[in-house]
Symmetry: C2
DNA sequence: TCCAGTTGTACTCAATCTGAGTAGATCTCG
DNA sequence: CGAGATCTACTCAGATTGAGTACAACTGGA
């Protein structure tokens, strides 16, 4: 290795020609449903298809910075602010892009509910799309098998983006178990019910309200009370609820485990 | 993005010049201690320093295949066999290699105890090195902060490999909690005590033998009995123990949680 | 050969955690 | 104003956990 590397330093064309891109799986919750940020491709290949936002890593740009740039460009937001952004995985199958060898470093982002991206800001059309509308299989499945969208699904994703999205969803589901990142989907202050709605949307499962309440309050550093309550009760009645903000924990201990993982175990 | 991509397809030099490599954090357990596979660099930069095995991804090679190739080359083993190999993360800070922009897709491997790599097989010197001898900080820490090895540590790792190793160790510790991959560190048949030794080596913590025993046997699909027992008792006495092999579970449910994560929580 | 010390395995027991259900007060909507 | 929904706090039985006890089987050294 070292020999090659050293020589190659003097002749960059000795390296296999590879392009490095970042793609971003940006998730948010709207109307109680999980949405992902997609852009419509304006040129071939996959012209007209929806794809994850992404692009080339610039010469002096960190991978994370490149992902942040793509995320902010496409959401129309100026700072990372309350976003959560982490690296997801890299995808580099030789044939994943028909034009040339492209290795994509995928990232995963959690965002609070945002206004629709300003359509005029870019030639591309960007939109928050309900994840359910994309017809992904329920479980992410083996990392090596391709992810097929359900037949009849209106929006087919370009490249291997269905696989990347599936991996991102599975990672998101896991992250909610042992980190307090669910709070990144809400505003700075939230009710326990809002937090529960986040878990239900991401996990696709309804949770026992009482047990969830008890559990969230019992995990040290998950949430802290603001002392205030909502101005009004819920849309369909019920008392005003107390408001909380994110605590200082970086890991939930003990974790909130999602129900019924038995199926996926074998 | 799509515009640029399309144009660039006809002029590969429009892409920023980036090299893509794989690096492998290969772990095994020897004499009850966690070891990592390292190679000594034969040329600049970091000449003479130890580094993770790795190298360039070949033009038609999958990322995983490249990692497998490097792993097998350096261990002197011919097939992946009972290895576990997964992608860890990608590292692409613009200055991480002084020669040019290099994005490395790091992988994590678990191996059973292997003979020392045949020294003559390659110009490079490869060795299994006890992780403790590398003086890494106990916790992986924030992903963005550099990992500094303890002063006075004899083997300084090249590039950002200390950070990659630290991330690999943290991932390995977590994986043992909720997957049955500890069995990849043992031979095909093993005793519960051997399995416990794996956990203790990776977690750096001693475990209650009785509780560990109960827990392992109670998790469905973790291990299955072979019916046989060891030929002899332990080296320092004790009865012969029953032999087990890996079961068919891919996830442990419920998980084996490592003790005292409280500290790392905030 | 025997003994001291170690180990594998199986218990017990109290403390904790979990899922499920109940209950009451509070609020919205019609 | 009444029906229905929701937030929050309880209760309770069952499961899980950490810690300790018990004992037979085994090794190495005396």
């Amino acid at each position: 290795m070292t020999e090659e590397e050293y020589l190659a330093a003097y002749d960059p064309r000795a390296f296999p020609a590879v392009a490095v891109t970042v793609d971003v799986v940006a998730l948010t919750i709207r109307d109680g449903a999980l949405h992902v940020l997609l852009v419509r491709r304006g040129g071939p290949p996959f012209e007209g298809a929806w794809a994850l936002p992404g692009g080339f890593v610039q010469p002096d740009e960190d991978l994370r910075a490149a992902a942040a740039r793509e995320l902010l460009e496409e959401t129309g937001v100026t700072t990372l602010g309350r976003f959560h952004l982490e690296q997801l995985a890299s995808y580099g199958a030789p044939d994943r892009d028909p034009r040339m060898r492209v290795v994509s470093v995928a990232h995963l982002a959690f965002a609070p509910d945002l206004p629709d991206p300003a359509a005029g800001s870019d030639a591309r059309e960007a939109a928050w799309v309900p994840v359910d509308a994309l017809g992904l299989p329920d479980a992410a499945g083996s990392r090596d098998r391709p992810v097929r969208q359900r037949p009849g699904t209106s929006r087919r994703l370009a490249f291997d983006h269905a696989r990347i999205l599936a991996d991102g969803l599975e990672r998101a589901r896991g992250k909610l178990e042992y980190t307090p990142l669910a709070t990144r989907f809400t505003g700075p202050e939230f009710t326990i019910a809002e937090l529960r709605a986040v878990y239900e949307a991401v996990w696709g499962d309804s949770l026992h309200a009482g047990n969830f309440h008890r559990k969230v309050l019992s995990v040290p550093g998950f949430v802290e009370s603001t002392g205030a309550t909502t101005e009004r009760g819920g849309t369909r009645g019920g008392p005003r609820s107390k408001l909380y903000r994110a605590g200082d924990a970086r890991l939930l201990h003990p974790a909130l485990l999602r129900p019924s993982r038995e199926e996926a175990v074998r």
